[in-house]
Amino acid sequence: MNSAEAHGSPAFHLLGPVDQIPLGEGRAFAVDGEQVAVFRLRDGALRALAAVCPHRGGPIADGTIDRQVVICPLHQHAFDLATGCSTTGQEPLRSYNVTLDGDRNVVLQTGV
């Protein structure tokens, strides 16, 4: 684990161009030992959650999304895209701050 994170201070990771994530879908990234699903909403906004479903390990990045939630493809549990809280009674997914830089690259923040 990266030492900045161990101390709880934020670390920023460049995930590359936003175009690698189609509108309305998610893609998974390995970031500093963590598995993160980054979603690009239809209005262009980004959201990032832990990529592994707490229910039975389903691939969250393969889920179906709207502006509020992502639905896991395996057993249809739903998670709030902003907070990671499950709306169907599962444990929450960790959520991450995610933004775009000036070159339309995805920037993910870990370690807070």
């Binding site: 990266n2 900045a4 670390a11 920023f12 990771h13 460049l14 995930l15 590359g16 175009d19 690698q20 994530i21 189609p22 509108l23 309305g24 879908e25 998610g26 893609r27 998974a28 990234f29 390995a30 970031v31 500093d32 598995q35 699903a37 239809r42 990529a51 592994v52 039975r56 390990g57 389903g58 691939p59 969250i60 990045a61 393969d62 889920g63 179906t64 999304i65 709207d66 502006r67 939630v69 992502v70 639905i71 493809p73 395996l74 739903a78 920037v107």
Partner: protein, 838 residues
């Protein structure tokens, strides 16, 4: 004779000895009485033993009508499972019949030589089907002739279903046109049989309604494709070893393969008579439900006669059970049962009938308000005496049933304007009515759920109507109390009731049913899922749960005008493979009609070897499944296979299963493999509201299981082909209904396509044909699809052709992914480059 003497277990020196409570009859009344006793601390007072003739726990007999029609499975109607008895320390002798009571020494003698002592006894033996005298009902050996059924128990129902589903059984006669008879007729009709109801009365349901209502009802029943013969007395059941028909007095014989006798019930009183208890029409009880002149013997349910009345419905027995339990446990020794007012409802989908009390005026001063609109199947009649309602009959419009039932039950004063009773005026609005209801007022009569139980469920967190219904089972019998259930839930939730994402919507996120949704899409020229949300969703909000259904609908409607947004698809349809528990996918190449070749087999073998496929499996759909393929390998696997997709993942046309057919099979009368391959080639990949699985068999031996497919084709003698629709053998089992018999395989393809197109346009999202076909009825489908009664056949054919023409093998996307990272792995992520810290 050896005998076993039951000795209650678990007596303890320090606690006072518990008394021995024995219950004979483990049906709705017996089990309910025990539940009420337990609720009053009975477990501390009694060791409980129950005898049940049926080898099961207690189930909801009412629901047998739904089990017969296939709307419920028999496993779902149990009220008390065997574990319930264990958990409550009740000794249940299931499948054991009590034969005699010695009321002097207080013992029950039962089958298998068992002798059981009691301190308190409850008799709840219910009723049985009445078999009116007619010739030929029995075999010379004395058993009921094969093909004749009563309609009372789970076993009756299962035997009927099995009999109805035998392929050569096509016609059924139901004797009796009352509630039970009509429900039996409807149930058998759902299995595709031709059904005739033979009723000795002058009109249907004559104990519940007058002749005018009966005439309207008859039209509605006939509209279901059920034949009705009133004023007809059956004189004999024909056939030597099995049923071949019935004969009627003064009328021609009716031939049939099965007969259901629903001509009334008779209380089970043999045991009581044999044991010297007072029996008139049934076992005579007093207002405490105690058998007349007996200190320690109670009786409850359909086997009792109270103040001259014998009931044949459940509502009275819920009330009886409460009074009985109060006395048996001593919880309230002043409790008295004073009789019940009964209301009945018919549980036949599409024919709403409710009736209570008188069906016509009896005194000169009685008022009678009638509204009749036979063409719509609507009839309403109310009898008023002294400004109180004393009877009502409602057909075809049940909106007022909840209020009228309350007005009737509770003797509420009526509005001045009597017609307000029949129409949507004047009744107290939901809130007032519900707030006034007593806590223990019964809301759902079928399942005996009172207001308190429903309110409890809401307080316990079930804040949707559907949730509260699931938790209490209220509204899950005949369904006619749903409105009242809804009002109670809303009232209990104090306005915080969550809207059920209305059942009628095509998808939960757009408040429109399918026709209205399709209409709007057409009118506004919407072409993509996001446009539909934008234009039609409340607040233009997207809804993840609605995306897949909308994508399928738009593709069906628009063919190549559809703007395909990949995010609207479920992952399976984005990568054209079925996702599995570990996030890998399965690959099922097309293998039309289950026919393959050396080349295909060799290629599949090579691919499996090259990609180290963990499992190669023959599927139930007659093709080969390569399981455990990582997402990122899918394009290469497809490239190496160089075979089209078999669509084993989508809500779409799947496969056509075939048998060897006439070229090889010694029985084959039609070339089933050829036709199957042609059908699969034509309709491959067509999306639909739910999966479509087809089959073609070369003769009625049906080796391709055509009778249980969404569309199943069977070659019959003379070069003809039968087309069945709506069959299933998955989560539900249903024999398909015969749509048509045609001479020519080309005609099979036309009708198959036309049926599927009509289904695509009409069915609800995820509604398989096994639900859709019985919902709309095979007659209707036959009329539209075969006879072109609506003049839309040509349009349907054209629309299907457009979809066929628009087919592109999705696995061709392998060379040119449609979206960036379409096949990038989502888990596990070890293959991804690590991203540097900024």
């Amino acid at each position: 004779m050896t005998s076993v003497v039951d000795r209650p277990q678990g007596r303890h020196a320090t606690t006072p000895p518990r008394r021995r409570l024995v219950v004979i009859g483990n049906g709705m009344a017996g089990a309910r009485a025990v539940e009420e006793i337990l609720a009053r601390g009975g477990a501390g007072q009694f060791t409980i033993t129950m005898f049940g003739d049926e080898p099961y726990g207690n189930y909801n007999r009412i629901m047998l009508s739904h089990v017969l029609s296939g709307e419920e499975s028999h496993a779902d109607i149990f009220l008390n499972s065997l574990s319930w008895y264990r958990e409550n320390n009740i000794t249940l002798h299931a499948g054991v019949r009590a034969e005699r009571i010695d009321k002097f020494t207080r013992h029950v003698f039962s089958s298998y030589g068992r002798v059981t002592p009691y301190d308190v006894l409850i008799i709840a033996t219910g009723s049985r089907s009445h078999m009116p005298p007619m010739d030929g009902l029995h075999t010379p050996g004395g058993s009921v002739k094969q093909g004749v059924f009563g309609f009372r128990t789970i076993d009756d129902t299962q035997r009927m279903v099995a009999h109805a589903q035998q392929e050569h059984h096509r016609r059924a006669v139901v004797i009796g046109g009352g509630l039970l008879g009509l429900e039996a007729a409807y149930g058998l009709r759902s299995h595709g049989l031709d059904v005739e109801v033979v009723h000795s009365g002058g009109h249907l349901m004559n104990s519940q309604m007058g002749p005018d209502g009966g005439a309207v009802l008859r039209r509605s029943v006939e509209a279901l494709g059920i034949g009705v013969h009133t004023g007809s007395r059956t004189t004999a059941v024909l056939g030597t070893d099995r049923v071949t028909g019935i004969s009627l007095r003064d009328q021609p014989e009716i031939s049939c393969d099965m007969v259901v006798v629903a001509a009334g019930i008779r209380p089970n009183v043999d045991l009581a008579v044999l044991s010297g208890l007072p029996v008139e029409r049934a076992i005579v009880v007093d207002d405490r439900l105690r058998v007349q002149d007996e200190e320690d013997i109670y009786a409850v349910g359909e086997c009792v006669q109270h103040r001259g009345e014998v009931y044949g419905l459940v509502a009275p027995l819920w009330e009886q059970a409460v009074v009985l339990a109060n006395h048996v446990t001593g919880a309230d020794t002043s409790a008295a049962y004073l009789g019940s007012r009964t209301a009945t409802k018919l549980k036949v989908a599409g024919v709403e009938v409710a009736s209570m009390g008188l069906h016509g005026p009896e005194r000169d001063s009685d008022e009678h308000i009638v509204f009749s609109e036979p063409s719509r199947g609507v009839f309403k009649s109310i009898v008023v005496r002294d400004n109180k309602m004393v009877g009502a009959t409602l057909l075809g419009d049940s909106r007022k049933v909840a209020f009228l039932t309350q007005a009737y039950d509770r003797g509420l004063p009526l509005p001045e304007e009597r017609h307000n009773l029949l129409f949507d005026l004047g009744a107290p609005d939901g809130d007032v009515g519900v707030a006034e209801l007593d806590d223990d007022a019964q809301v759902c009569n079928c399942n005996g759920v009172n207001k308190k139980a429903l309110v409890g469920a809401v307080k316990g967190g079930c804040t949707t109507v559907a949730g509260a219904m699931d938790a209490t089972r209220a509204g899950k019998g005949c369904g006619s109390c749903k409105l009242l259930v809804q009002q109670v839930v809303e009232w209990a939730a104090g306005g915080a009731v969550e809207e059920d994402p209305a059942a009628g919507y095509y998808v939960p996120g757009i408040p429109l049913d399918k026709p209205a949704l399709m209409d709007e899409i057409r009118k506004r020229g919407l072409r993509s899922v996001s446009q539909v949300f934008q234009a039609l969703a409340p607040g233009s909000l997207e809804d993840a749960k609605s995306k897949m259904g909308l994508a399928s609908l738009l593709k069906m409607m628009l063919a190549d005008h559809y703007i395909d947004e990949r995010d609207a698809r479920f992952i399976n349809d984005r990568v054209h493979a079925n996702i599995q528990r570990d996030g890998t996918f399965s690959v099922v190449p097309q293998m039309k009609g289950g026919v393959t070749s050396v080349q295909q087999l060799r290629r599949i073998a090579d691919v499996a070897e090259k990609h180290k496929v963990p499992l190669i499996k023959l599927t139930g759909g007659q093709r080969i499944d390569l399981l455990g393929i990582p997402k990122e390998d899918l394009p290469q696997v497809w490239a190496d296979l160089d075979m089209p997709s078999g669509y084993a993942y989508g809500k779409s046309f799947r496969t056509v299963k075939t048998c060897v057919g006439k070229d090889f099979c010694r029985y084959g009368t039609g070339d089933s493999t050829k036709l199957g391959i042609e059908i699969e080639s034509r309709f491959q990949g067509i999306e639909s509201p739910a999966k479509l699985k087809l089959a073609v068999s070369g003769c009625p031996r049906n080796c391709a299981e055509s009778l249980v497919k969404d569309v199943g084709v069977v070659a019959v003698e003379g070069g003809r082909w039968e087309i069945y629709v709506g069959g299933a053998a998955g989560a539900h089992i249903r024999k398909g209904d015969l749509l048509a018999t045609v001479d020519d395989p080309e005609q099979v393809k036309v009708l198959t396509g036309r049926f599927m197109q009509y289904y695509r346009e009409q069915a609800n999202w995820l509604e398989r044909t096994y639900a859709y076909v019985p919902r709309v009825g095979i007659e209707h489908l036959r009329a539209v699809v075969v006879e072109d009664s609506e003049g839309i056949a040509a349009r349907l054919d054209t629309a299907m052709q457009a979809s066929v023409d628009n087919y592109v093998d999705p696995w061709s996307e392998r060379n040119d992914p449609l979206t960036p990272g379409q096949f990038r792995t989502s888990l596990p992520l070890t293959v991804l480059p690590q991203v540097p810290v900024q």
